[in-house]
């Protein structure tokens, strides 16, 4: 068991200083902007909570938030089951394990703007591999710069390509921690593949799956660079996710007040959902 020791704080201080410097100062700047109005020339006027009210009532914010939730829900619904299936069918030992792991981790190590650019070129009609295959081989009309549905499918496919491996690796780590004796016992009992999965594998994967869902939720909810480079939020606003909209308001229109208020609301939503996941996760840890 852990012992109570207040001196442990000394060990945490360096981390505390470093993260506080990076987190609190910018956060205060954002809070500062969110309650003021500026007309340039560094003149600021007290605005109170007007920006928050304006953002919370605006259709534009609702639409972006809706798209964001739809996106996150879609990729979670695809990546989590797919990740489990792939992890279950991975080899358990031998040289192929290393090869699989390295190849699978590869997409995660590519800079995000390169991921976006890569998929952009990959999907171009006529000259991109995917675009060519869809239009000229399958005969489906596919152009993500014109068709919102095609743009959505491309953004989702890119994220599945980029991050499913995270779920696979996590589940695989969970599966590897199951002792062989469990499988032998199940074999003696004549358990079906399904009941092995349901009663042995799934419970062992619970912790890692929670981590996977938590990480995928946080990262997909904050996603910016990849879809921005891939579609620029278009066609129209169809793939303008929350972060993209935020940057448009902050840097495109230079509406710092509303952008700051939106940042705080955005952050609060991420925090709330993540807190729920975190509580679920640490509840298991304590047992």
């Amino acid at each position: 068991m852990k012992t109570e020791n207040q001196k442990a704080w000394l060990f945490v201080l360096p981390v505390l200083f470093l993260v506080a410097f990076n987190a609190l100062v910018p956060m205060m700047t954002v809070v500062n902007y969110s309650v003021q109005e500026t007309f340039g020339n560094n003149q600021f006027f007290w605005q109170g909570l007007d920006w928050f009210e304006q953002i919370l009532r605006s259709d534009r914010f609702h639409a972006a938030l809706g798209r964001q939730f739809l996106f996150t829900a879609t990729i979670l619904a695809i990546e989590v089951p797919l990740g489990i299936i792939i992890a279950l069918s991975m080899p358990r030992q031998g040289i192929w394990v290393s090869v699989c792991l390295v190849l699978m981790a590869l997409p995660m190590l590519i800079p995000w703007n390169v991921v976006g650019a890569m998929w952009n070129i990959f999907a171009l009609p006529k000259i991109g591999m995917l675009g060519y295959f869809m239009n000229d081989v399958l005969g489906v009309s596919y152009d993500m710069t014109q068709d919102p549905l095609a743009a959505w499918i491309t953004v989702v496919a890119m994220d599945v390509w980029h991050w499913t491996s995270l779920v696979v690796l996590l589940c695989y780590a969970g599966l590897m921690s199951i002792p062989d004796a469990y499988y032998q016992a199940a074999k003696i009992d004549g358990a079906s593949a399904w009941s092995v999965f349901r009663h042995i594998q799934l419970p062992k994967m619970k912790t890692v799956l929670t981590i996977a869902v938590l990480l995928r939720f946080m990262d997909s909810f904050n996603i910016y660079t990849e879809p921005f480079v891939l579609t620029g939020g278009g066609p129209g606003n169809s793939t303008t996710l929350l972060s993209i909209d935020l940057v448009k308001i902050a840097l495109g229109q230079f509406d710092l007040g509303p952008a700051a208020a939106m940042s705080l609301i955005y952050f609060a939503i991420t925090l709330l959902v993540s807190w729920v996941f975190y509580t679920l996760m640490t509840k298991d840890d304590r047992r």
């Binding site: 442990a8 360096p14 910018p26 591999m129 904050n222």
Partner: protein, 265 residues
Amino acid sequence: MRKRGIIPVVYILFLVLPIYWLVSMSFKTTNEILAGFSLFPQTFTIDSYIAIFTDSTWYWGYINSIIYVSLNTVLSVTVALPAAYAFSRYRFLGDKQLFFWLLTNRMAPAAVFALPFFQLYSSIQLFDTHLAVALAHTLFNVPLAVWILEGFMRGIPKELDETAYVDGYAFPHFFVKIFLPNIKAGIGVTAFFCFMFSWVEMLLAKTLTAVEAKPIAAVMTRTASSAGYELGLLAAAGTLTIIPGAIVIWFVRNYIARGFALGRV
């Protein structure tokens, strides 16, 4: 069993296709790329790579990125080690709250922080230095490093600490000479993750630099906009960004799955 093997193969094929496309494009001329679809380069050329390796703006982009990523990795792991030890061994006032607060920084959208970061680092005269990007990236790397290291450390039995005390080792000696070698794998994996997230993050890196410490991403966007679309050059530059990651992943391949599970399996 045989049939099962097909699933990872199909999946890896799906992962490799876009990468293959990028690499194959980097060996084509821009004219060939724009002329239409071809699976293999018709006129094989390494001109794009030559252009990158002979232009100092290009290759300095890579060097700059590697400098701030390494700085960040060393910084993050160093400060995270004692903190992770404290979290894994002791209870103290506000420990759970502190741990969660650290995690919240992993959740903050980078887009939210871009502008305030620019102002913060300009005001302390660090704008356009490698240190600025390395420090900014600790925002999400330090919490992650603490999280992973704590998972690995909790797997080391407390008896190890107690035996060392009984044997009369002073704490710093115990920590560096006895404890750290026991979590070597954990430190390796943590360093890998810090490297990875600092390497792939480009929004803050771009915001905090102008000329002196410009990362490869900023160089790429410049080329994309000024010279029309130099697709061949862009593909070559993209291909080169994959290589450092591929190298480091090979070193930690045996621990990577456990690392992704934050040491919690």
